[in-house]
């Protein structure tokens, strides 16, 4: 009889422990469901609740990691980095540490703190523990450069993984499509409007050339007709204005064209690229 009673009591105690474990698991699954439904605010709340009541720290790393991901999903990169750093401290094993570290880097890429992302990548590369992860390190280095609008360096980073890596080809293509702002300005000094034509703004370039030609004619005509004062006024207020305007236009068009090219590539990465993204 005693043995039976002892058995029943032990069973009850066991059931209690299992039930408590189940409770945490249920909570973790509930938070995960919210995360999957992209309800990041609620997901963070439930992961935080789990963190508080998980006295055995069974879900600590996963909850912190997921909180980081939720904050990242909501574009709160400072908070994301804070929780990924917590996850890194509570990580068990190399893989978990690497996952948390790369998430910190990815958040830095998205936050556009490129220098910090590159610094962390350098540290990761130097760490012999992660020697087997060199491709991943170069992959994120490439992304960091792309977000910093440095497509040439991005292409170099992706080429280290694979010379025909799709992102290497994209970075190369973007870099080649870009125009030189200095060249656009210099040719506009020599021939007004040429810089605009070089950046693809043909009509604007031709108009600029025509206005400069006309204003130049009026200025020279005034001087040759001994209307020195008129010559100075037209030269200063009209010709010089058009001449300077053509150089400024060339610079603005070149900068804008480069922004458009970079944005087109970034849009492709955001909407069509199937690989892993920051």
């Amino acid at each position: 009889m005693k043995a039976r009673a002892l058995f029943i009591l032990s069973f009850m105690l066991f059931a209690f422990v299992i039930q408590a474990q189940d409770y945490l698991k249920l909570q973790f699954n509930y938070a995960n469901d919210l995360f999957k439904a992209e309800q990041y605010y609620d997901a963070i709340t439930e992961y935080k609740r789990l963190l508080l009541f998980d006295s055995t720290n069974t879900y600590r790393y996963q909850a912190e990691y997921k909180i980081g991901e939720s904050y990242k999903g909501g574009a709160k990169y400072d908070d994301a980095i804070k929780y990924f750093s917590h996850a890194e401290k509570d990580a068990q094993g190399k893989d978990e540490i690497f996952a948390a570290k790369t998430q910190v880097i990815r958040s830095n890429i998205l936050r556009r703190t490129t220098d910090r992302a590159l610094q962390l990548l350098d540290e990761l590369e130097k760490d012999s523990t992660f020697r087997g992860e060199i491709d991943t390190i170069y992959y994120w280095r490439g992304w960091a450069y792309m977000f910093a609008d440095n497509w040439k360096s991005a292409a170099r980073a992706f080429a280290t993984i694979n010379p025909s890596h799709p992102l290497k080809l994209l970075a190369d293509q973007t870099d080649r499509a870009k125009v030189s702002v200095t060249f656009a300005k210099v040719i506009s000094y020599i021939l007004p409007g040429a810089g605009s034509i070089y950046t693809g703004k043909i009509l604007s370039g031709l108009m600029s050339l025509a206005w400069n030609a006309a204003a130049g004619y009026w200025t020279i005509n005034a001087f040759t007709s001994n209307r020195i004062f008129d010559g100075f006024v037209v030269g200063e207020l009209v010709w010089f204005r058009f001449y300077r305007g053509s150089i400024q236009n060339a610079e603005e068009f070149a900068v804008q064209k480069n922004i458009d090219i970079a944005n087109k590539s970034l849009r492709y990465l955001q909407n069509e690229y199937k690989g892993i993204k920051p």
Binding site: R4, A5, Y23, K48, L52, F229, V233
Partner: protein
């Protein structure tokens, strides 16, 4: 099949044990549910954890749920503080109001009640409540008076008499606050009509009056040069160019008159903007002379 007496006895014992265990198991289940993560007690625990972590938005939601089950002054006060900290001042003041009588938070709740109006920028209501001595605080009456007086510097209301305005502030800061008082009472504004008249008489002078000296000189030179070109072209019988420059002169002249009036308005807006900024920085750095929060 017949059961032996001993077997019968054993089965009976198990049945009795189970009958006793059923309520225990039931109790265990009930207590387990009550101590689940979403029980009021655990919601309070979680709320306090979030509150300490300064995650006031989430903490407010947990406190709110707890208050549905239990009415507790401490939780109500912390809930109100959460609302206050996330900028829900109207809700915060309503909740602080429920703590005005018969609890240890009476005095603090009254101070935060007035603070809610102040930081919610409802300055008029704050002054009305303070003037009518509604919900008077014994401990924080001076702090509330200071808030009320600072609020006069924040909006376009009429300033009170200077001595009563300054009396609530410490002697050490009175001279600086007196400067704010004078700046507010007699702002160094420029009259847009005067600026326009100045520029109508001498082009550019209205701009110089509003402090835009470079613009004023440029406007004067441009208008004068354009007028001279009109005159010289008419004199040389270049009538087309004469009219062209006359039109240009009229354009520069009228543009400058209008521009001078606009410049005076911009000047006044800048004065107001800088004053507001200075007031906010000065009082903000000193936490509006409010007592230090202990939460």
């Amino acid at each position: 099949m017949k059961l032996s007496a001993a077997h019968k006895n054993g089965s009976l014992q198990i049945a009795v044990l189970l009958i006793f265990l059923m309520p225990i198991l039931n109790f265990a289940q009930t207590s387990y549910n009550n101590s689940g993560l979403f029980s009021p007690v655990n919601r309070l625990k979680f709320g306090n954890y979030l509150f300490a972590d300064k995650d006031y938005l989430r903490a407010s939601a947990e406190f709110k749920e707890y208050l549905k089950s239990f009415d507790d002054d401490t939780v109500r006060f912390n809930y109100s503080l959460c609302l206050f900290n996330i900028g829900k001042y109207e809700e915060a003041s309503d909740n602080f109001k429920t703590l005005f009588y018969g609890n240890p938070f009476t005095e603090k709740a009254r101070l935060y009640f007035y603070e809610s109006y102040f930081f919610g920028k409802d300055y008029k209501e704050l002054r009305d409540l303070a003037d009518n001595q509604n919900y008077k605080s014994v401990l924080y009456s001076k702090g509330i008076e200071r808030l009320k007086n600072i609020s006069y510097l924040m909006d376009d209301s009429r300033l009170p008499e200077m001595n009563s305005f300054l009396s609530v502030f410490d002697d050490s800061v009175q001279s600086r606050i007196a400067k704010f008082y004078y700046q507010k009472k007699n702002p160094k504004h420029k009259n847009p009509v005067t600026a326009a008249i100045f520029s109508a008489i001498i082009p550019g002078s209205g701009k110089i009056y509003t402090g835009e000296i470079g613009d004023g000189i440029t406007a004067f030179i441009t208008t004068a040069l354009s007028a001279y070109l009109a005159y010289s072209n008419f004199k040389a019988d270049h009538n087309f160019r004469g009219w062209l420059f006359t039109g240009l002169t009229a354009f520069f002249y009228s543009g400058n008159v209008y521009g001078s009036a606009a410049s005076a308005q911009i000047y006044n807006a800048r004065i107001r903007f800088n004053f507001d900024k200075e007031v906010k920085i000065y009082f903000g750095e000193r936490n509006y002379f409010l007592p230090k929060s202990d939460y």
